[in-house]
């Protein structure tokens, strides 16, 4: 039995067989062969190609029917690589010349191709290196007689253990059978963490070496409440965790009792409690957990893993579905936030060394106004079907906000000319996630109908802490005195101009931080659906006046540790009573 400690990013406890995702290349041995073995090696190679082809066709079909045809298109290129005569003939002729096992020759050729691809001076084609490697790995896996399970082909419950999880891997996942994640890298806001919360499965990230220490089939416990992963637990531990799991489920069920109730403090102050979503299908869970709206609809997930951008019609249908299903409840649609750690294959977006501070989000949209306008048209057309609001991400100076508003006005004018209906008074919000926007929030408040503080990026930029680098995860401190002051200032400036100020980052999902935010006067908290009941229960257990006093005291403290310690000491009895 081994215990590993990481960062808890999605609550819950599960245990199941591990499915370890290959991140390292298979080890291929170099074995000399006899002249007479050549036909056998060729036959093995052809057999592996046939098997790989069948696998790919299967996956392509699955993805086309489950996720959409556009997502499956990338496999056409993969299939063509399998049929590439030049490649096949090269393998066969080298086999005859060098008299070495076909695995070795084939992997050597793939290596040469990948090297050549990675030297191409074109960022898009450069990324094809991973396609070539991916297909190479599949073929070698089949040559070595290894039945490689893929995420799309899982048939019973597993926990996925991997170095990292890319958006395309999670898109492939058969969500019915994946009940937990454990990864080497990542932090609370990495893609794997966000997906786990959206799927409502426990996850622990930042485990550093877990993917090389766990073997396929090991029994793994994932404790997403405490950030612990246990490999091959003994009987005693396993039964302890079984009890924990049951307790946790009972706890979640009790929390759901507050589903219908408002997030009102004991002294009658109501906070708007909303959920963050990635896909229209997340709404079931949003409604189940008793959200009063959607405070952040991350639209970029529609753009990931695609060879072409979603059309206006596709986007319109998605936004309309969300608007209709939420009825009168507000839905904040955040415009495209590509870049940072989210990229798309439909775009020639160069890889940047410092992508979080690079050409992303609104900066990208203001250059690619064609993409931006398509999205805004879809949002405006959907605006008559519910209570939609639009929000621009990564605003760092006023001219960006004004320019974005100007483009929205142009889109409205176009729709008017075409006689298409839309909500002319749709509220326009600015996401406050860049320190410059927070510090100058008095200026921005005059040009926005609402603010939403994006705590993930605001903390990362203010503290100069890369939030996906697990080595400095300890410096990512939501209770840093600078962060508390900054957030309080933004809320005050918003209120001076009579606009609503919400928060849509992970900070809002932490019950004690939520209390602090309520004390500062936040109007809305938007979090992953799974955290809603707990935060709601905390808000219903406190007084606004007490929370305000708490803020006053916290402002006197000098370090993040002191603030966290103080919050714990004051709130522990309340937090414990919620757990009961």
């Amino acid at each position: 039995m081994e215990k590993h400690y990481g960062i808890a990013v999605s609550p819950g406890i599960v245990f199941a067989r591990a499915l370890v995702m290959e991140s390292k290349d298979l080890v291929v041995k170099k074995v000399p062969i006899d002249e007479t073995d050549i036909p056998r090696e060729i036959a093995r190679f052809e057999d592996a190609l046939t098997k790989t082809r069948a696998e790919l066709l299967n996956i392509r079909k699955k993805i086309a029917s489950e996720i959409g045809r556009e997502h499956s298109e990338i496999f056409n290129a993969h299939l063509l690589i399998l049929e590439d005569r030049t490649l096949i003939e090269e393998v066969i002729s080298r086999l005859r010349e060098e008299k070495l096992n076909v695995e070795y020759i084939f992997s050597d050729i793939i290596e040469q191709y990948s090297r050549a691809f990675s030297q191409i001076d074109d960022s898009y084609l450069k990324e094809r290196t991973s396609d070539v490697k991916d297909i190479g790995r599949r073929i070698i896996g089949n040559l070595m007689g290894r039945k490689k399970e893929t995420l799309a082909e899982i048939k019973d419950q597993v926990v996925v253990v991997s170095h990292d999880l890319s958006p395309s891997e999670t898109a492939l996942m058969n969500k019915k059978y994946v009940i937990g994640f454990a990864t080497d890298v990542g932090g609370p806001t990495s893609h794997a963490a966000i997906m786990a919360r959206s799927m409502e499965i426990p996850a622990v990230v930042g485990l550093e070496t877990i993917s090389s220490e766990v073997l396929d089939g090991d029994i793994v416990v994932i404790d997403g409440n405490n950030g612990i992963v246990i490999v091959n637990p003994d009987e005693e531990t396993l039964s302890e965790y079984k009890t924990e799991e049951e307790k946790f489920e009972a706890f979640v069920q009790r929390l759901d009792q507050v589903k219908e109730l408002a997030a009102t403090t004991l002294d009658g102050h109501t906070i708007e409690l909303s959920a963050n979503i990635e896909f229209p299908s997340d709404i079931d869970s949003v409604l189940l957990h008793g959200a009063h709206g959607i405070g952040l609809y991350r639209t970029e997930y529609m753009y990931l893993n695609k060879t072409v951008f979603p059309t206006e019609e596709e986007q319109f249908m998605a936004y309309k579905t969300v608007a209709e299903r939420m009825g009168n409840m507000p839905v904040v649609i955040r415009t495209l936030d590509l870049g940072g750690d989210k990229f798309t294959s439909s775009l020639d977006m160069p890889k940047e060394i410092n992508s979080f501070m690079g050409w992303r989000a609104i900066r990208f949209c203001l250059t690619r106004t064609d993409v931006f306008k398509t999205q805004l048209r879809a949002i405006m057309r959907a605006s008559v079907f519910g209570n939609l609001k639009v929000m621009f991400p990564m605003i760092s100076n006023l001219s960006e906000l004004l320019k974005a508003k100007e483009i929205l006005a142009e889109v409205k004018q176009d729709l008017k000319n075409e006689g298409i209906e839309f909500n002319d008074t749709i509220p326009i919000g600015a996401m406050i996630e860049v320190p410059s926007a927070a510090i100058a929030s008095d200026i921005f408040a005059k040009e926005a109908d609402f603010f939403s503080i994006g705590s993930n990026d605001l903390i990362q930029y203010s503290l100069a802490v890369d939030r996906v680098n697990e080595k400095i995860a300890y410096l990512y401190q939501p209770t840093h005195p600078a962060i508390i002051r900054l957030i309080k200032y933004v809320i005050e400036q918003g209120h001076k101009c009579n606009i609503m100020v919400g928060m849509c980052g992970e900070m809002a999902a932490n019950p004690s931080h939520a209390v602090l935010l309520v004390g500062m006067g936040i109007d809305e908290l938007s979090i992953s659906a799974a955290f809603l009941p707990k935060v709601k229960k905390v808000i219903r257990s406190i007084k606004l006046s007490d929370a305000q006093k708490l803020v006053e005291e916290c402002l006197k403290l000098t370090t993040s540790e002191e603030v966290s310690g103080y919050l714990d000491s004051k709130l522990l009895p309340i937090l414990e009573s919620i757990e009961q």
């Binding site: 056409n76 191709y113 094809r128």
Partner: protein, 99 residues
């Protein structure tokens, strides 16, 4: 392998130049489309960019050309259906690979 025809009189040999005009150049999807189209023909077809010459029926080869927007490609076609093949290739480029 394309069959070598013995009836040399029915073979035609063509050398054609064309410019890549779609937005992202011959990246994965257009390259796949081009290779799929060309593979339907019996003729031997090669494509050259600069000094790099590859078999136009090889996806790896075509992608390796890294033919970005505005690059000039030279197609060499040899075989009984060369003319028909060229008409199809030209059409693909004209349609900007349906982007």
């Amino acid at each position: 392998m394309p069959k070598r025809s013995d009836q040399t009189d029915s073979e035609s040999h063509m050398v054609k130049k064309i410019k890549v005009e779609n937005k992202l150049g011959l990246h994965a999807r257009p390259a796949a489309l081009l290779v799929q189209t060309i593979s339907r023909y019996e003729s031997d077809i090669t494509v050259t960019k600069g000094t790099k010459k590859v078999n136009a029926k090889s996806i790896m080869g075509v992608m390796m050309l890294a033919a970005g927007p505005n690059s000039i490609l030279t197609f060499e076609l040899l075989g009984p259906d060369a003319e028909q093949a060229w008409a199809d290739i030209e059409d693909l480029f004209k349609r900007n690979f349906d982007e």
